[in-house]
Amino acid sequence: MIMKNYTKGEILLQAKDLSLSYGDQCILRTINFSIHDIIRPGFQQGQVVSLVGRSGIGKTQLFRVLSGLQKPGSGSITIRERKPTENADGSIEVFHERDVAPGDMGVIFQNYYQFGWRTVRQSLLLAARQNKALAGKEEDAIRHYTAQFDLSGTLHQYPRQLSGGQQQRVSIIQQLLKGSDFLLLDEPFSGLDVCVLDKVVELLLQVSLSDELKTLIIVSHDIATAVAISDTVFILGKKEGLPGSTIVREIDLIERGLAWERGVRQMKAFDDTIREIKECL
């Protein structure tokens, strides 16, 4: 096992004492975790974090809370926002910490939902126009991403004319064009055949390498694929005698030499990790 040179920098996202209940039913209980900026000398390395858990454990609820679409019952989610502002003394402060709000995260829903009345180009343009950094260069950015994601030929098609894989890529590009540092994906591997699955994994890795602060949060019950692509895995489960789900384990895959490895599935440590996760569920 070759140890890779890396350091963990600032906290990019922090969930603190997060809880969610519906009436008397506790869904999520005191969830605490943080995602750090991973710095690899010589690489533009983003972060890929997976939240795994059994079906019905509350993954989708956690996904909605993280995305800002649903307010938690208690607790908070803080993100480190890249927004250069000038202080009173004239110094420039680039990063600010604040609570997550709808629109902060790029969200890719499980069914890759897109507006049925907009063509691919129009949908992407809607997102690009929300990104001030792309002002005046929206069309160029769309051309660049669609070429990179093999979607140039679909620009004038409607979502219903696209395959599932194409719709997923459009959703990803749309959220990338919006310019959020965080990309939240709900079950991105569900219902994909083996060939498409490999392509999606490759695509997500490509996205994670596109920017130092790009952070992918994958919510999935496909443990093997989630481990193969991530640098950190959080396991959502239940603790005996306590209501609701919480993070029962954090696994640092970098420490185990399982992150950023192409042939990770062939490694013994990979199988051991999968077994370990399954035991936690």
């Binding site: 679409l69 969200v107 829903f109 939902y113 507006f115 009345w117 219903r160």
Partner: protein, 236 residues
């Protein structure tokens, strides 16, 4: 199949009827005669113009109240308009006569009053059944409330507004004959129909009914074609 059934009905009608109910060939001949005169064309144009005018005003009023129905005060107003479907026009004609300045305005306002509750009911139902994900996608894109309203309700539901217009054109077209009877000086297909009916000219009455039916079907088809052309995704 349908053509065969129609043909069979017409043959049976032709062979069995007599007396007071005119035979199809007689009606056809009367319709042919009507088409050769300017009378029919002029009156049809008057009626069509009035119907289209009423449709445009009704759409504007409907959209205004349904878009504003997101505000609690206007929600109650929109709900009241929906309930107005159960009001009959008969007792209200005098009130409308007092409120309007001439026959033309009376007909137009009655048509609008008759159409708007049905438009509002259909459009509120469309808004009520909007997929939650449409709003959530807007939220993830960082849209504010007005951007959401524009994207999801105005742009996103434009095709359904058009479909509601198509479906409710029938109501307007059905009402036209009734309101034209209230002020016959400007003519119109309804006025013509009442005139023939007054003299028990059943052949011409049925010929005119056929013309009204045919125009209604043509418009239904044309609006369908126009909808597919304007909103190509509705064909998918």
């Amino acid at each position: 199949m349908v053509f065969g059934q129609i043909l069979l009905t017409l043959v049976l009608w032709q062979s069995c009827s007599g007396g007071l109910i005119p035979q199809p060939l007689k009606i056809l001949s009367a319709a042919g005669h009507l088409f050769t005169t300017r009378l029919l064309l002029d009156n049809v144009l008057v009626s069509l113009l009035l119907t289209l005018q009423a449709l445009v005003y009704s759409v504007v009023v409907t959209l205004l109240f349904t878009y504003l129905s997101v505000i609690p005060f206007f929600h109650a107003v929109a709900q009241f308009i929906v309930k107005c479907r159960y009001l009959t026009l008969t007792g209200l004609i005098f009130v409308f006569t007092l409120l309007t300045k001439d026959g033309s305005q009376l007909k137009l306002s009655l048509l609008i009053f008759g159409i708007v509750p049905f438009f509002t009911t259909s459009f509120l139902s469309v808004i009520l059944h909007i997929n939650k994900q449409e709003f959530e996608l807007c939220q993830t894109l960082g849209y504010n409330r007005w951007q959401m309203l524009y994207e999801v309700i105005i742009v996103g539901k434009a095709d359904q507004v058009f479909e509601i217009v198509r479906q409710n054109f029938a109501i307007a077209w059905m009402m036209i004959t009734m309101v034209e009877g209230l002020s016959m000086s400007e003519g119109g297909i309804g006025a013509l129909l009442i005139k023939y009916n007054k003299y028990n000219d059943l052949t011409n009455v049925l010929a005119l009914q056929g013309v009204i039916f045919g125009i209604g079907l043509c418009f239904d088809y044309l609006l369908g074609v126009l909808r597919h052309w304007l909103f190509p995704y509705t064909k998918l």
